[in-house]
Amino acid sequence: MSFLKKSPWIIHYDGSSCNGCDIEVLACLTPMYDVERFGIINIGNPKHADVLIITGAVNSQNASVIKTIYHQMGDPKVVLAVGICAASGNFFRDCYNIKGGVDTVIPVDIYVPGCAARPEAIIDGVVAVLKLLEEKTKK
């Protein structure tokens, strides 16, 4: 499985984010930051993905979608919560429709801070994923 170690493929799901973190995740893939040179590819199929990136808090409607995507992914897998909303819900946690951060639904491995999270921070999070993936592969 050594080929998996350094090229994590990511799948991105927008929880109830305001779009700020989403476009920063996309900005990571474009020429300024260009994470594709490290073999990081954004794909739409959960079965192909190693890393699940979630932006935004969880509400009653999308909780089941997040669970479904998480269970469809093959092991080993890592969940990355990008932005303050995904970590704790930000001020949205006072809203009637918000359950809280992503960790209320699925286990989260790494939290990336920021509102909106900067591309550098997101890349830093993905780098931390590499180590974690390696450990999980050994198990």
């Binding site: 799901y13 109830s16 305001c18 779009n19 476009i23 920063e24 739409g44 001020f91």
Partner: protein, 359 residues
């Protein structure tokens, strides 16, 4: 009669990063009906007025959407300032125009990139986003944020652009415009893009008007409506025309946005030239009491805010009708009768911003 099939589209799908769900009723390869369903991004932030004071609501309004955040912040400030009869300094008005036009350019470039990707032009997508990054650098240097600006506050702006910096910013903007000029030619003249977008997602002038389309979707159907022409903030001192197209299809909507970017550059140049000296904010005392109805032009079209204050720190009611929500009706009309393969392009053509629509 061929049998009917229902294809679910979304919420997690490859067209947009955002979740939207459509049930597409198809007969052979033709879409007969599209039934949208919502709620994946719904947060209910309008009800936070009871928990946060009106200064904090500006922070919250900016997070309705990360792409149009500047104008959301400006909209709520504009409404509260009208209720409290605050006279905003002229310099702040011009700065707000400069930043909102920058946000319009970055939003349209983002859309053009996604449109290029939908047409199969990956490198064009990369080029659009490369240019956008240059603009984000200016935005970051002047406001401190890349996507969420956070510069508007009740009574003016939080930050100022030094007069000595304006010259450098204009030089960089002219470079970006030159770069963009080359890319706009591809959207204008390329055979494949023409073929992919022309006569797709037809929306007649009558339908667009009656279904209440807004922004580029409306203007591409030949109706000249642009809220900036009402002259809010400093727009009354600037010269520009509402840009329209008559092709009534996806190509027209693309062209309106391509041309609006040049218009926005021009507006920034005009505003920078006329930028008056003076303070950028005034002290605000007291609480808002009364109601106001604000109408501004977002990159995606007309946005409406209803703001009601009752003399306390908390507003009594805050309501936003965002452009994407108004464009969903026209979108459903465009989708009925189209080919299944055209669905992604048509959904994209209204520039959907789901987090705006659901708040």
């Amino acid at each position: 009669m061929a049998s009917r099939t229902i294809i679910p589209f979304g919420p997690q799908h490859p067209v947009l990063p955002e979740p939207i769900h459509l049930d597409l009723v198809i007969e052979d390869e033709k879409v007969i009906e599209a039934v949208p369903s919502f709620g994946f991004v719904h947060r209910g932030l309008e009800l936070l007025v009871g928990k946060k004071d009106f200064h904090q609501m500006v922070y919250i309004a900016e997070r309705i959407c990360g792409i149009c955040s500047m104008i959301h912040g400006m909209g709520i400030c504009y409404g509260i300032e009208h209720i409290m009869k605050i006279d905003v300094p002229e310099r702040a008005k011009y700065l707000r125009v400069i930043w909102s036009e920058m946000s319009r350019i970055h939003s349209h470039l983002l859309w053009l990139g996604l449109a290029a990707d939908a047409a199969g032009y990956e490198s064009l997508f990369m080029h659009c986003w490369r240019i956008r990054e240059k603009l984000l650098e200016i935005i970051e240097a002047t406001t401190g944020g890349r996507v969420i600006f956070g510069v508007c506050k009740v009574g003016g702006t939080r930050r100022d652009i030094a007069n000595s910096d304006i010259h450098g910013i204009l030089i960089t903007l002219k470079d970006i415009e030159k770069d963009y000029q080359n890319i706009s030619k591809v959207f204008r003249d390329d055979y494949t893009i023409n073929h992919r977008f022309s006569n797709v997602g037809f929306l007649s002038k009558k339908d667009a008007f009656e279904l209440g389309a807004v922004g580029p979707t409306l203007r591409a159907s030949g109706v000249s409506v642009d809220m900036r022409k009402t002259g809010y903030s400093a727009y009354r001192h600037l010269e520009f025309e509402a840009l329209t197209e008559n092709s009534e299809d996806c190509y027209g909507r693309c062209m309106v946005r391509v041309r609006e970017i040049f218009q926005s550059f021009n507006l920034i140049y005009q505003a920078a030239e006329k930028l008056p000296n003076g303070p950028v904010d005034i002290k605000v005392t007291g609480n808002p009491e009364g109601e106001y109805f604000t109408r501004l032009e977002q990159p995606r079209g007309e946005v409406v805010y209803y703001i009601k204050g009752n003399g306390t720190q908390n507003l009594e009611r805050f309501r936003a009708r965002t452009p994407t929500f108004a464009n969903i009706g026209p979108l459903v009309r465009m989708l009925s009768g189209c080919d299944l393969a055209d669905v992604p392009v048509i959904v994209l053509s209204i520039d959907p911003c789901i987090s705006c629509a659901e708040r």
